[in-house]
Symmetry: C2
Subunit: 435 residues, 2 copies
């Protein structure tokens, strides 16, 4: 099955279009050979297969393949039609009304019905899927049909490769070393009283000894990487709103791992009195009641650390002499609702990192990545003297990992001038999954 | 009106208590003069005013004032009654059942009915309030009636002094100085591109220049205060659970200002698929749907910074040679849902601070506070050379400000060995309201 669009719609006219019948006929015939084929290979443009005039409308059926999609075709037509009928016949086009919009797309497996707006029905047939959309002119302009198709194609792709399609290729590893310390570090540190579990899941309270270790690592990153490479410190926000995650792409799929943040519906103490009173009398926090009294989530706790920085450069034109911009943030925590595997300090829900961000031309960002990579090698080999390895990771779902996707793009040669992030403490192409 | 309790209840017996009538009579008469007056001034103990035997119960009415409250009295009685009837008559006491529990308490103004469990009715009468409780033996043991009374007394107190009863007394101020810079610092910094608004309310993105200023202040606090006074750095958690706020007292009233945190109900990607799909198609985040899909709030973003530390010492006995414990945390943000007054960097919803905590004997914690106070004076006068003032602040609602309440207690002479917190950057007795 090939991708096929079938759109039945009509143009609303400001007057009876009958006087313009000949002009419409000529325009549609001409369009079928020019306007609606522009950008498509020979014979694969969109086509008006039927049309007729009504008292206050021009009805038509458009068929197309993937190149000039029917919803684009009708918008192209509207423009030329309005010009042609307006000038000569004083007939205005008042808008486009969709009567039916059917898309057939190829798929090897069945897909379960999507719960999204604008889909009227979705049917699995032999070799593909038949989709009926419920869209108007505004949605066609906003490319809603394309978004729905992209979504479906993603899902079809996922059925082919399975959900966990992360490709991990070892590039290099250091020769095996003798490990003098063989215990579980978390257990050993707990035994010595260096750290304790926090009250929340995957969270630790670090005592003075453990914190000193953290700061020693931080100092190495400062002295050996950030200072010599001239990265400048910034302070990025730590409560991240939807607006930010829409920009960074996280809004496409990060939902299962977010610690969501909801504000109170109001600060009025009287509104909250019953909650406080309930607690004072029962010594239990009425979490069900609180959930009713808080607003809808405005976003969540920092997940990837760099996205809130993006707002700093949004809408700015950066002068050439100011790039590459090289900055870092180490001003707070990131939070992820992790899977059951959490048990020690090596995989946690709440963690700290130095987030490194750089922006520049294609050449500049690649150079920055190379410089960082070199510094990491130096830190791992000459200072920490640890056994480590380098791998190329291609996430199955790039969209879930806004920053890392971009980073990996950069490293594999597909260059970008968007902000690029790198977590201090792992190699540039992914020593661990904290991206 | 005086505080009065009237409790009608019965002891459930394992057998008909009739054979023990004489013993019960003697015991109750004796109790009215001894057991139920213990701890009360002459003539103001609790009193059994009526009693009778049933087939399987001993019914009684208890009246009392504030000293030996009726619900305490009945538990005292249960104990001696069980001993007396058990040994000699082989009659067991199976429990206490409450038939009615009425409390009259004095109040000058009317109070609106409380929406809390265990209150059956609440009536404003001339000179006071009549309260009917619905409690059983377990609630009486857990002192629920006392908690309800305390809550009511707080509210009666509040009607007297009004809601905003924060007392602020100026103790000292530096002589007026000439201010060379007269602009609004936030506006000036924004104009220079040193900082920009974050995407969320009361939140800033600090650029390299602004961040450098932050770090300079931090260095002063390190070099001039933390190092010389031997405070050691720790890392406190930044997602704070109810358990922590129950310990710190914030659970009593911090609700209007919290940024609440809710985890996903599950990490299952399929559960979240419709949210991601909705976004991909509409480019809008379905916050209403998300609110349905997240769990009840588990707590909130750090508010007072120190409470998560408390869990580190909970249940520990600190050896004498380890106190005073002197630590600090500067590992992340605090978040408060502030009132409309936010506009610049001087009053924000998201902020950073160095949180200082010390624990010791009464003498030690006072000494620590004095040392800190001295260092602050030095920083303000000799290094920053700024105009500042010292005030004593008594919050109207201490419970809402767990740490600061304790701090102020310490400074005003009411000593404590609980953890005591101090925000770096303000004087020990409160230069601003960030406590």
């Amino acid at each position: 099955m090939e991708l096929q669009f079938n759109l039945k719609a009509y143009f609303k006219t400001s007057a009876d279009p009958t006087p313009a019948r000949e002009a419409v006929a000529a325009l549609f015939e001409e369009a079928n050979n020019t306007l609606l084929t522009k950008g498509a290979p020979e014979g694969q443009g969109a086509k008006i297969t039927e049309w007729k005039l009504g008292e206050d409308r021009i009805e038509l059926t458009l068929e197309s393949g993937r190149y000039v999609r029917a919803h684009d075709a009708i918008l192209r037509l509207k423009k030329v039609l309005a010009e042609a009928l307006g000038k000569k016949y004083k007939i205005g086009i008042r808008g486009v009304e969709v009567e039916s919009f059917t898309i057939k797309l190829p798929a090897e497996h069945e897909l379960k019905a999507l719960k999204v707006p604008y889909i009227k029905s979705m049917e699995n047939v032999d070799g593909g899927i038949i989709l009926e959309l419920e869209v108007g002119e505004a949605e066609m302009k906003n490319r809603v049909p394309d978004r729905i198709l992209t979504l479906l194609e993603e899902k079809i792709e996922a059925t082919k490769y399975g959900a966990k399609a992360e490709h991990w290729n070892l590039l290099w590893q250091r020769e095996p070393m003798e490990h003098p310390f063989k215990e579980d570090p978390t257990q050993a540190m707990m035994k010595e009283g260096w750290l304790k579990r926090g009250a929340s899941r995957g969270q630790w309270i670090h005592g003075p000894q453990s914190t000193r270790l953290f700061r020693a690592f931080e100092k190495i990153v400062f002295d050996e990487l950030l200072e010599p490479l001239e990265y400048r410190e910034m302070i990025f926000p730590k409560l991240v709103t939807w607006e930010v995650w829409m920009k960074s792409g996280h809004a496409k799929g990060v939902y299962p791992e977010i610690y969501y943040v909801c504000p109170p519906k109001t600060r009025d103490p009287e509104y909250w009195e019953e909650v406080a009173d309930y607690y004072k009398v029962t010594h239990e926090v009425p979490t069900k009641l609180i959930k009713e009294k808080i607003g809808e989530p405005i976003g969540g706790m920092a997940y990837a650390q760099c996205p809130p920085f993006w707002m700093y450069v949004t809408g700015e034109t950066l002068p050439n002499e100011e790039i590459p911009i090289k900055v870092f943030d180490r001003s707070g925590t990131s939070h992820r609702y992790e899977s059951g595997g959490i048990h020690g300090i090596e995989r946690v829900d709440e963690f700290h990192r130095i987030e490194i961000v750089w922006i520049g031309t294609k050449e500049e960002v690649v150079k920055c990545a190379d410089e960082l990579h070199e510094r990491y090698m130096h830190i791992f080999n000459d200072i920490l003297d640890i056994e480590w390895r380098k791998a190329r990771v291609t996430p199955g779902s790039w969209h879930r990992k806004g920053c890392s996707g971009l980073l990996k793009e950069t490293l594999s040669g597909q260059l970008t001038t968007k902000p690029v992030c790198l977590t201090a403490g792992r190699t540039a192409n992914g020593l661990n999954s904290r991206t």
